[in-house]
Symmetry: C2
Subunit: 341 residues, 2 copies
DNA sequence: ATGAAAGCGCTAACAG
DNA sequence: CTGTTAGCGCTTTCAT
């Protein structure tokens, strides 16, 4: 646990009989260095096992070589897959990845205030986190490029973003149920009015409404329920909804996790799926495959990867026009949807 | 996208009518500064919205204020939960978290060579990654404190670590099946001879063997199968095993993910669970709860949290003796195990 | 209690 | 092509 001083660029310079400047040029592939001296220097570098001190390099070049990803609830499977896309896109870049997880509004404040600083990061990815108006100044004034993944804001259309079209997705899912012949279709989603104001559930509900209207089906308030995101909550809501005098014959859930809760609720009530109840989820995370759940597939990994790539592009050339892309969700039919009996 | 120069400590000093050194002392809570001047300085800091440049600070104090976590396959649920424990323990520390994901041996090399450097990090957590002998010199010579989570090595007993006892866990799981009356018990796990040499599956198998021997039950080679980690592979292995002339009446899987594969395989073969086949998994990730899977619960989140705390302790005081802790796994009985029929 | 000055290890502008 | 020099922005002796 000794204090053996690290090898510095000076040591290399001395050993190779050149100046530190030349060593710097040599290791940074500057053309301004003789091929022979470069080789000699690189040999010494290897002998001495020299690696440039990152902090010094960062301070000197005025860049942090770090990218932050600001993300809520990163253990949620859908988020985790998106993150993996980010990690994979960044893995052979020069950038370090700084993960800032957000579980509470305080952490969100910290994320926006302490992380989005030019002396901390070169760029940021904001993933799946709705952006309240109050933070707009911090984002637009952040002075570092920001890419939005699975989130957006009308005032931030100068930023690159990658999102899904949740309204269209909710509509497609609902249309599938309508086409199967369902007329009593319920919706179970997230609470709209949380500190985070997640909107995907809300958007999917809007798609649901649009599909019902297009099919001239009534919008029945008792067929809408919202609760904290989670299986147990969805289970409870499903039980309540299935206890109605005239229960729905199909339920669209705002996520696969909640759809699984609905399946559990149906089982609790002795309601057969898909015989007496069709269930459709959203995301197509692994559990959907396991449970044979019909769902809307989002390209989660891809969204992370594309967003990260897009940030790298901007970082390389700040003049590029921002990539903005909508990834459409696709219906995956499995075993939980069928015509009503 | 303007170049408005960031506020530096000099600006604050000038504005407050003191020297940069005093400002530094003031913001770092040095006792060597008059209370009045400190307040004046802090006021200016607030007015100018000054935040110290991290790279400069790091270079100056010779620490990186960064902790790396080196982890394979971080989207696997069990890994993801452990990571969340780490993140949570570090969230209100001064340290940044640098995540180095490992999916290939090359990334592992990079992780051990480029990440474990004193100029990059102040300390590291190695999570769920077996350590081949060839890397021992790099670890012992890394010159930064390292904490092992869910992995260990006889030569690294000077390091703090947190592990589960996989042998004991495998034994407990198997004993449960034995006590239910099973005598034909199969094991489905990971391939031992991969580039990563994961050992947990192997250890759990050793526990399985010990339990069988203690119960005077024969060890039948046809009741052992190994394959790449994953649901589909486990499903296939289960089908093969259930096709034996004398199939097992119970199967222990090396992980919940694989146990779910076994459930699928059983369903494929029309084998009722738990009527004709008992299945037990390992980890107790969310899917186990969903599927009603009997399993061995590991304290995943806790392991990450404890490991990170332990690293923080060492970082604060390098003289502390390393915390080494075994977290025992606990049997969680659900609906997939029953006496043989 | 405060200021001056040196230095962390690197890069880059300037001379030659 | 290479050496010299001046920072990057902060911390930390050393004086006072």
């Amino acid at each position: 646990v000794g204090g053996k001083r690290a090898v510095t660029i000076r040591d290399v310079a001395r050993q190779a009989g050149v100046s530190p400047g030349t060593v710097s040029r040599a290791i940074n592939n500057s053309p301004l260095v003789n091929e022979e001296t470069r080789e000699r220097i690189l040999r010494v570098v290897r002998e001495l096992n020299y690696v440039p001190n990152l902090a010094a390099r960062r301070l000197s070049i005025g860049r942090t070589l770090t990218i932050a990803v600001i993300v809520p609830f990163f253990t949620r499977p859908s988020v985790s897959v998106r993150l993996n896309g980010v990690v994979s896109a960044l893995s052979d870049s020069q950038y370090d990845l700084l993960i800032h997880n957000i579980d509470t509004p305080e952490q969100r404040d910290a994320g926006f205030q302490e992380v989005l600083r030019k002396d901390r990061i070169d760029g940021a990815l904001i993933v799946s986190l709705p952006i309240p108006d109050q933070y707009l100044p911090q984002l637009t004034g952040a002075n570092v490029p920001i890419v939005l993944i699975d989130t957006s804001h009308p005032a931030l259309n100068a930023f690159p973003w990658i999102t899904g079209d949740d309204v269209a997705g909710g509509r497609t899912a609902t249309e599938h149920l309508v086409q199967l012949g369902h007329t009593r279709i319920g919706y179970i989603g997230d609470i709209v009015d949380t500190p985070f104001h997640f909107v995907s559930s809300c958007d999917r509900y809007r798609g649901y409404c649009a599909a019902l209207q297009a099919a001239h089906l009534p919008l029945r308030p008792e067929y809408y329920a919202e609760g904290d995101h989670g299986r147990p909550q969805a289970r409870e809501m499903a039980r309540t909804m299935l206890s109605l005098p005239e229960p729905p014959t199909a339920i669209l859930a705002a996520s696969d996790t909640q759809a699984v809760g609905v399946l559990e609720g149906a089982r609790d009530m002795g309601v057969d799926v898909p015989g007496a109840l069709s269930v459709i989820g959203y995301d197509d995370i692994e559990i959907a495959d396991i449970m044979g759940l019909t769902t809307m597939r989002q390209r989660l990994f891809e969204s992370g990867r594309l967003g990260a790539k897009s940030l790298l592009t901007v970082l390389n050339d700040p003049e590029t026009t921002p990539t903005q892309q909508v990834l459409h969700a696709e219906l995956v039919e499995r075993d939980t949807t069928a015509p009503p009996s």
